[in-house]
């Protein structure tokens, strides 16, 4: 092809086009924001909120639920928080901490938001937290928080601490299950936190695990681990449960793996061994007929919310929610709703021209949030001090839902994470 003379011109022309392409996007982008060398926070009366909701990848359902909860609060409160008009800029959390960090960068550096809200997955918070803290922008987390975040001065979670959920159900299981419990979960930070929180609390109250030694690649963890992010087939792992003599199984899975796990559990013929889990196993869209459907019936889970939580706040919330959306509200709707409610209070207290710094200070003074899940307040770790519920998947009318069957111990003291992961 090199010897053909007519090819000369287009080749060179293409090269020139290539060089031009280099310049065009840079010029196009350079329109936003002033010089990077003088960064001053904006201080006007409109509050810009940056929301990181998952819009692609595995966390999309959670991101959608959170966006719905947050926007519902705004639309029912005249698009104002604390008396200030609000502009919400959103960015996609994506599947990994890389994509979530890119989203946080866009919101913080390009959109110059005053507050950051969001993330479904716990993992990216580790990357976002230091960046928000340096810029003195409060970050209101609506998903899990890993035990590895050190400086929480600008980090607040309206959701849960990853080690808390399992710890809340441990005493109940130790009391009611007559025999050892088999623990199984995914091998990543979220899994180690969730399952570790359960196992530590369970052992503390005298509970006994059914897991055999050597079932786990990580010797520090006592539960059976399955590959993360993808476990191709749960059957080989589940086939070990029968022989372990377990009288119950406790697990933590969320999203796609949860759907697969619940079906595989039924297929493995383990229905006579009760399945308990962290509430994410059956939360939100998981109970749809084309996901877990009837296979989830009878599973008991622990979580800090269910649509059947008693109280006027929840009744009002469920009514407002169902006036707009066709689904039953879930925890992800509530954590985002609470994030908006929290900001509503804090911005009102943050002076006439709220900035990230003053809003953050105001959040620290808030003593109580009236949430659909019941009132809660922040503990020393900037996470809710809250009630946990034991729920069971039952047919509620025509659809499956998580029905509260009892309250679990409040004031869970979450034990410190092990020094080495």
């Amino acid at each position: 092809m090199t010897s053909h003379p007519t090819l000369r011109i287009p080749v060179a022309r293409l090269k020139r086009m290539g060089a031009a392409l280099t310049v065009v996007p840079l010029l196009a982008l350079s329109g936003c924001g002033g010089s990077s060398l003088d960064d001053t926070p904006n201080a006007d009366s409109t509050i810009t909120i940056g929301a990181i909701w998952a819009q692609s990848g595995n966390y999309t359902p959670l991101g959608t639920d959170m966006a719905n909860g947050f926007n519902l609060y705004l639309t029912t409160h005249g698009n104002k928080l604390g008396g200030h008009p609000v502009v919400v800029k959103t960015a996609d959390e994506g599947d990994t901490d890389d994509t979530a960090l890119a989203a946080a960068r866009k919101l913080l550096d390009s959109d110059r938001v005053d507050v950051l809200v969001g993330t479904a997955s716990a993992v990216p918070t580790v990357k976002i937290a230091p960046k928000a803290t340096t810029l003195k922008i409060p970050f209101i987390g609506t998903g899990g928080r890993p035990s590895t975040i050190k400086d929480v001065s600008y980090i607040w979670h309206t959701s849960w601490l990853s080690r808390e959920t399992g710890a809340a159900i441990a005493p109940y299981l130790a009391q009611t299950v007559k025999g050892p419990v088999y623990a199984i979960g995914p091998a990543y930070t979220g899994g180690y936190d969730q399952m570790g929180g359960f196992i530590d609390a369970f052992r503390k109250v005298g509970g006994k695990l059914a897991n055999a030694e050597g079932d786990n690649p990580n010797p520090d963890a006592a539960f059976a681990t399955t590959p993360y992010p993808v476990t191709p087939d749960f059957k080989p792992y589940l086939n070990k449960i029968r022989a372990s003599g377990a009288k119950a199984v406790y697990t933590f899975y969320a999203g796609g793996p949860a759907t697969k796990f619940v079906h595989a559990y039924r297929d493995a013929g383990l229905s006579d061994i009760p399945l308990y889990g962290a509430g994410f196993l059956t939360e939100g869209s998981q109970l749809n007929p084309d996901q877990e459907g009837d296979a989830a019936t009878g599973i008991q889970t622990v979580l800090n919310y269910a649509a059947t939580v008693p109280g006027q706040d929840n009744a009002d919330f469920v009514q407002t929610f169902q006036a707009k959306y066709p689904t039953i509200p879930n925890l992800y709707n509530v954590t985002a709703w609470d994030a908006a409610a929290l900001l509503d209070q804090a911005i009102a207290k943050a002076g006439p021209h709220p900035t990230g710094e003053t809003i953050n200070a105001a959040i620290g003074t808030i003593t109580q949030i009236n949430s659909p899940r019941g009132t809660w307040h922040f503990n020393a770790q900037h996470a809710p001090e809250q009630q946990y519920f034991l729920r069971e998947v039952r047919k509620d009318g025509r659809v499956l839902s998580n029905v509260v069957i009892r309250n679990l111990t409040t004031n869970i003291a979450v034990s410190a994470p092990p020094a080495a992961k």
Binding site: P61, P217, T259, D267, G269, S285, P289, G293
Partner: protein, 289 residues
């Protein structure tokens, strides 16, 4: 003693079902790579499309499943032919791989938009729902049926490729396209047919395999990686026997292997591929392409 063996037997059976499913997907990829000499990076998306199709059309009856299979085959034939039109004006393999990568990106975006990013699990036909029990260890009836169906499918494919005129032409186009063209065979047509057939196999595997490997974000790249492993081990082209053996090996490793040595669960397949490459001679590895 026997009761100790039951969990292993059930796990091994799981490996067979998994391996056969991979065989169907990977066979399609081997055909495309062998005939076109193009790495189809959208092959995982074809599986995913089939699996989503099963979720939309399956209604818990055998008829629903059959409709989904037929719809999948029809759609795949069109998509495969379309892909061959798209790839035709492109000279280099890099350009062709880039286009298939682009299709994969767009497909995964579209699937997330259409399904809300949920991992779905379609209803199985009522007759095939439920599980058989072996000493307290369950095994799904559906997976067992899949094994029973896949064995004659594999045998049929073997016979078509080895014995039929179409198979002979196909093998000619894989082994020596120039000579095949010189003999008067239309290599372009064979390529279109190979792309359409390869895509059909992936989509059919998706429709039938949706209850085994359910559709969701990330499943496309996962299935692509698994079928790549099978193709690397079994060789591209039309060697059905080698592909079946390596697909069953991968299925066994993913089931028996991860149960025996959980520590290696995430690595075992990659290590096997590298080990095979080291052991296998240079010439053989090249001729596999």
């Amino acid at each position: 003693m026997v009761s100790d063996l039951v969990p292993w037997a059930v796990t091994a059976l799981g490996g067979v079902a998994y391996g056969l499913l991979l065989f169907v997907v990977a066979d399609g990829l081997a055909l495309i790579v062998g005939v076109m000499n193009v790495m189809n990076l959208a092959h995982g998306a074809s599986y995913l499309a089939g699996a989503y199709l099963a979720c939309w059309l399956a209604d818990g009856t055998l008829t629903g499943l059959a409709v989904a299979v037929l719809a999948g085959i029809a759609a795949a034939a069109i998509a495969g032919a379309g892909l061959s039109v798209l790839l035709k004006p492109l000279a280099g393999h890099t350009e062709q791989a880039a286009v298939t990568l682009g299709i994969g990106f767009i497909a995964s975006w579209a699937f997330t938009r259409l399904t809300g990013g949920n991992t779905l699990s379609p209803p199985r036909p009522a007759i095939l729902d439920g599980h058989l029990s072996f000493a307290g260890h369950g095994y799904p009836v559906y997976d067992l049926t899949f094994i029973v169906l896949a064995i004659p499918l594999a045998a049929g494919m073997y016979l078509i490729v080895r014995r039929s005129m179409a198979g002979i032409r196909l093998r000619a186009a894989v082994d020596d396209p120039l000579m095949a063209a010189a003999q008067g065979l239309s290599v372009a047509r064979i390529r279109t047919i190979a792309l359409a057939t390869g895509t059909m196999l992936a989509v059919t595997a998706g429709v039938l395999g949706a209850p085994v490997i359910g559709p969701g974000p990330g499943v496309d790249s996962h299935v692509l990686t698994l079928s790549l492993i099978v193709v690397i081990l079994g060789g591209a082209g039309t060697n059905i026997r080698a592909l079946l053996t390596s697909a069953l090996l991968v299925g066994m490793v993913e089931n028996i292997g991860v149960a025996t040595v959980p520590a290696l669960a995430s690595f075992s397949l990659f290590l096997i591929v590298i080990a095979v490459l080291v052991v296998r001679g240079h010439r053989q590895a090249v001729s596999a392409a």
